[in-house]
């Protein structure tokens, strides 16, 4: 094949690729790590084909995290698989973790539909003797702790001061870390939670809450109640994670502390928790929430009161069609007690 023509074809394919509405798949990192033939960290480039070796994606490897055959290639190249069906999932210059399967000989294919599977900053520690999980966790920890410039460079856009792209990368790192072995992930989140970089710190605390560690929450109750505080979305992310694996009483106490929040989204998250965790002694507070301005708060307060009385949970549609009657019913149920 004429290589120049081939490159032009790739460019044409890129130009004609869909530019709209791509939904990325969820990655099961532990499964990928155990099933891949090669797990590497490196930088992706597109279209730099070599003579006699048609290929359109090259990974310039800076660390081999795991290798079934013990090889440590400096470069891995392969054709864009059909499953990678949009160029939105491939950003030339992106750095991260790649999970690869060997087809035959020196032929490889990625085990994921997006490349890299995880966008990460370059490793800051030499972890040559660590397990693949430990090395991935370290990469994710470094990424979570990174500032916007480093995150954008990792995503393939060096020199950009783009907080939006950085936030997308940070959220993805947090979600990936939440799926790693809890012992490793908790330690990583704890380290980043000590960061002075506020978006990184809040993301790490959200990760800790997700894994059931609420120790950082008391210091955030004030900001979470005050909608004028900055980093609003980071605080809301923490509130959303209250429905986590933590002990019931810890979740209940944390949610009760957030009910007075002036941020409707945070109140809503608190009531989502109380719907399932409130006890009889919270009934008065729940009845007060029946008059909340936010529909989601009222909905979950009704569900909590119903549960406490041993009544079935209402469907969303049924509640919507009967809200006024249900609010009156559960106010009266309280008054009659």
């Amino acid at each position: 094949m004429n290589m120049r023509w081939y490159s032009a074809l790739i460019l044409l394919a890129l130009a004609a690729a869909p530019s709209h509405a791509f939904t990325p798949p969820t990655q099961d990192i532990a499964r990928l790590a155990s099933s891949a033939d090669q797990v590497v960290m490196g930088t992706l480039s597109v279209g730099d084909a070599l003579p006699g070796q048609p290929r359109d994606i090259v990974i310039h490897v800076d660390q081999v995290l795991a290798s079934r055959d013990g090889n440590a290639p400096r470069e891995l190249a392969f054709r864009r698989p059909a499953s990678v069906n949009t160029d939105l999932s491939i950003r030339p210059g992106a750095h991260g973790v790649f999970f690869l399967k060997r087809l035959s000989g020196a032929a490889w294919e990625p085990a994921t539909d997006s490349l890299p599977a995880l966008v990460t900053v370059a490793a800051t520690a030499d972890l040559a003797t660590a397990s693949v999980d430990e090395r991935i966790v370290q990469a994710l920890q470094d990424t979570l702790a990174a500032d916007d410039a480093a995150l954008n460079a990792a995503a393939g856009l060096p020199g950009r001061a783009d907080p939006g792209l950085a936030e997308v990368t940070r959220r993805a790192a947090r979600r990936a870390l939440e799926g790693m072995p809890p012992g490793l992930a908790l330690t990583a989140f704890e380290r980043v939670a000590a960061s002075s970089l506020q978006p990184a710190r809040l993301a790490a605390i959200a990760g800790l809450v997700h894994l059931g560690d609420f120790s950082a929450l008391p210091g955030l109750v004030g900001p979470m109640r005050d909608p004028s505080m900055p980093e609003r979305e980071g605080l809301r992310e923490i509130a959303r994670e209250l429905s986590s694996a933590a002990p019931v009483e810890a979740r209940r106490v944390a949610a009760l502390a957030l009910v007075p929040s002036h941020d409707a989204r945070i109140r809503e998250s608190a009531l989502e928790v109380l719907r399932d965790q409130a006890t009889a002694e919270d009934a008065g507070l729940l009845r007060a929430c029946l008059s909340d301005a936010e529909r989601g708060v009222r909905f979950n307060a009704v569900q909590a009161l119903a549960r406490l009385q041993g009544a079935p949970q209402y469907g969303v549609a049924y509640y919507g069609a009967n809200e006024a009657a249900l609010l009156a019913q559960w106010r009266e149920a309280g008054a009659a007690r």
């Binding site: 939904t23 936030e167 809301r236």
Partner: protein
């Protein structure tokens, strides 16, 4: 009628003939099952089994309430079995928790009711969108969602198939625009904090030229297209419709607008 069996030694004590309970008891392996509009989804209980105890069969099973929501095999709401087990499959989501009541009758004796619930993906609730610059498309906008079930709980963090469908043509808003239409997509993803990423358009030769997200964002509309989101299948026409909306592209960002979720209202 008292049913008896030949007694055996129990803890070393001969018991002789003893009565068995004549009223069958029912237990269920899982009283909550999921409906995704057709095929079950890995990780979600797509059927359950009821087990009768207390007396030998044959067994007459009956869905006394909620036959609109569950069924036995061959789409039946009553079924006879010689074994003490029966499988229950979902047909659609319940209105309220516990709307399904099932009993078994053995030798004329009816068991107490087992109550069951059918859940399904029901609505999407947005998180704050994020806009990022992109050298290939000017921008990428990430529209985040959580998926909720019909009882208003966030769905568990177990991946589900999901797809988008276009329900209208691409409509230009900007005079002379040549931004291209795209193809509906699908994926398998966590129902928690998933996102739709929407790109602008190529940097060269397109009218208007896409921009990186501005501060504040522009109000220059480029085009829009109506669509819908389905959870439960990657195949067009399958799964549960959870949202109808319009993709609205602006020159420097994109949003889902005219959002309706949940879509179906039930009394």
């Amino acid at each position: 009628m008292i049913v008896t069996v030949q007694g055996t030694s129990r803890c070393g004590v001969a018991t002789g003939e003893e009565p068995l309970s004549v009223v069958p008891k029912l237990r269920v392996t899982d009283p909550t099952i999921w409906w995704f509009g057709g095929d079950p989804v890995d990780g979600y209980k797509g059927s359950t089994q009821l087990v009768a105890t207390g007396t030998p069969g044959p067994y007459s099973w009956s869905i006394d309430a909620g036959a609109a929501y569950v069924e036995f095999k061959d789409h039946k709401s009553t079924i006879q079995t010689t074994t003490k087990k029966v499988d229950v499959f979902p047909k659609r989501d319940v209105v309220n928790q516990g709307d399904v009541h099932i009993t078994v009758t053995v030798n004329g004796q009816q068991s107490d009711q087992i109550t069951m619930t059918v859940l399904q993906p029901y609505s999407l609730q947005p998180r704050a969108p994020v806009d990022a610059s992109d050298p290939r498309y000017g921008y990428l906008s990430y529209v985040y969602y959580d998926t909720y079930d019909n009882l208003g709980h966030r769905m568990p963090d177990i991946p589900v198939p999901l797809h988008e469908e276009y329900t209208g043509a691409l409509v230009p808003d900007y005079a002379g625009t040549n931004w291209r239409p795209s193809v509906p997509n699908s994926s398998v993803l966590s129902p928690i904090a998933w996102y739709d990423v929407i790109g602008g358009e190529g940097a060269v030769g397109f009218v208007p030229q896409p921009l990186a997200p501005q501060t504040p964002l522009t109000k220059v509309k480029v085009d829009h297209q109506k669509g819908a989101w389905y959870v439960g299948s990657q195949v067009s026409g399958k799964g549960i419709l959870v949202e109808t909306m319009t993709w609205q592209k602006f020159q420097d960002h994109a949003r889902h607008v005219n959002v309706v979720s949940p879509v179906v209202s039930k009394e």
